[in-house]
Symmetry: C2
């Protein structure tokens, strides 16, 4: 059996873009008659069979956006969804959500299912396991089929497409600078293992802020957590034996656990130790003390992703340039860092 | 133009069930050759056109479950999703999620989109606005088209289908009984407006528990909240002017707000006032004090809903009886109700 011809190969052979091939096969009026005939003749000659039901439905626009997310138990992705829904609904698009549960296989299956005629394009935040494996063929495949993809928050360098991110390192540095400005010098960080891109970036921000302020980095004050379900025990253990004047946690769950660990050690937040979290969710807002945090502006990220995707879907002339939109973080000061500067002895 | 013939009318005319008609038109081997021919002849005679792309795809089973939820910002629906995903994935089904954001129109649009060939059946929790309007035609329509529906948590009596609920009234009574057993007599409830079915049922449970213990119901201790975003102000105002020894809140957000309101009044939880919440989410677990609560077993509810739906999808012989599965609640005692009984003076 001959290897299957892909859209990409046709594009390469005819020296046109993949989406031109895809659109020509769908008889899109966006593509000149000449090109359409050339592409179709070539596809026929090599017996090209699109594996996409959507193509057979005569260019049926679904006006649906496929959204594939790693999880939704934490507030951040819920706010991203709300931002996407708001823009999409306003422009007459439906949103279909699938969860990868941070599994590579589920991410691949979800995308395959949605690419099968259910959606016009994708917004995706990459699963933890996918980042670990560094296997992104499923993303490249849908792009090759002419379906645009916008990556949001957990993005990957290897895929060329529109992206929406926050400057995680800069946001983390802002948080740590706030602790330093409040007089703290012995600042612990509770972060994730390195292959989670945002965890790593936030750790970099922490390191940068310390260096910028000439504070020596103490590796003993860095806790990296793999599994959030076992985090309380690890954080209790970590803080029990260390004397710190502040804790920076890369998510609000770790921050809440840090407050608990400190209180059970007989300390008070913020009187004895300041705590700052990352991402402004319900837990940060409603916790007692309420948690200072870095706002990721999830709704804005979602809205921007939806805009980028819809613009690309509705563009008459193909645009080959892609953009990475960076959404600014902001610091929200609440009770957990409310403290008058310690007098320098 | 003649009015369009529906599946339901064909079923009525031929004295068979709607799903028999639907399956016969799809040439399902589950339906006898005779019936199939009769149905198809009738449909042809009256020029019946299925409005469902799925039907034209030659009985293509999507092996996909459409899940339509009111919201996901709160933990409960996230746990329902995880239960559904677990069962569905094990049985080789994908899950597609759409959010109604509690809007009737969005719920209708989502179901219409998913019924258009994307899913085999639905699991749905009804939007607040839909409950208010009492308009369920969109549910009946997909059922008439032969797509099974399982309602979960926010169910409606008017639609005959499989349902998964918890006994909200019994769960609430359990919580209030726990407060009474701890010596409380002046127990406030913070609940939702009445048209939200679960809020109303939980209020009933509160009233039942008081009556059962011969405690006079004091209408002045009942606060009904319409909009969760403005709840803190309302709860502050409500608790400021009332002397209570316990608060039962129908969700964990209201419970956290109640603790805040009490603390700002100079009171301590649980020393001065006990607080109990409903639904075991991250906020209840991580709050300080941790919140006693009624566990709704969302994951179990989701798992059961997925089982019921998949069983119905895979049944060879049509089963016309439907069941309502009731998942038991359980009381989780945490710090917010940990108190030695007040000595009776």
């Amino acid at each position: 059996m001959k290897p299957k011809l892909t859209l990409k190969q046709i594009a390469f052979e005819l020296d046109v873009s993949v989406s031109t091939v895809s659109k020509a096969l769908r008889d899109s009026p966006e593509i000149g008659e000449d090109t359409r005939q050339k592409v179709k003749a070539f596809a026929k000659l090599y017996n090209y069979k699109p594996n996409n039901i959507a193509l057979s439905l005569k260019n049926r626009k679904t006006r649906t956006i496929g959204l594939v997310l790693p999880e939704i138990v934490h507030d951040f992705f819920a706010t991203v969804i709300s931002g996407i829904e708001e823009v999409a609904n306003k422009k007459g698009y439906n949103v279909i959500i699938c969860l990868s549960n941070n599994s590579f296989d589920r991410e691949v299956m979800n995308m395959e299912m949605l690419a099968n005629g259910s959606t016009d394009g994708f917004i995706l935040s990459v699963a933890k396991e996918t980042q670990q494996k560094r296997d992104y063929h499923h993303l490249q495949e849908v792009i090759n089929q002419g379906m645009p993809v916008v990556l949001v928050d957990r993005v990957v360098d290897e895929i060329i497409c529109d992206k929406v991110i926050i400057d995680d390192a800069e946001g983390a540095a802002k948080a740590v600078q706030h602790l330093i400005d409040s007089g703290c010098r012995s600042i612990a960080i509770i972060t994730t293992v390195d292959y989670v891109s945002v965890g790593k970036l936030r750790t970099n921000g922490y390191l940068n802020a310390l260096r910028k302020n000439n504070i020596t980095v103490n590796e003993d004050l860095i806790l990296k957590i793999e599994d959030i379900d076992q985090s309380q025990e690890q954080i209790d253990e970590f803080l029990k034996s260390r004397n710190v004047d502040a804790v920076f946690a890369v998510n609000e769950q770790f921050a809440a656990s840090a407050v608990k660990a400190l209180v059970s050690k007989g300390l008070t937040v913020p009187e004895d130790v300041l705590v700052i979290s990352f991402s402004d969710g319900e837990l940060s807002r409603r916790f007692m003390p309420s948690l200072s945090t870095v706002n990721q502006h999830g709704a804005e990220m979602g809205a921007r992703a939806a805009q980028l995707l819809i613009e690309r879907l509705e563009r008459v002339v193909d645009e080959e340039r892609y953009q990475t939109a960076i959404i600014n973080t902001s610091l929200i000061e609440r009770e957990s860092t409310l403290k008058t500067k310690k007098p320098v002895v």
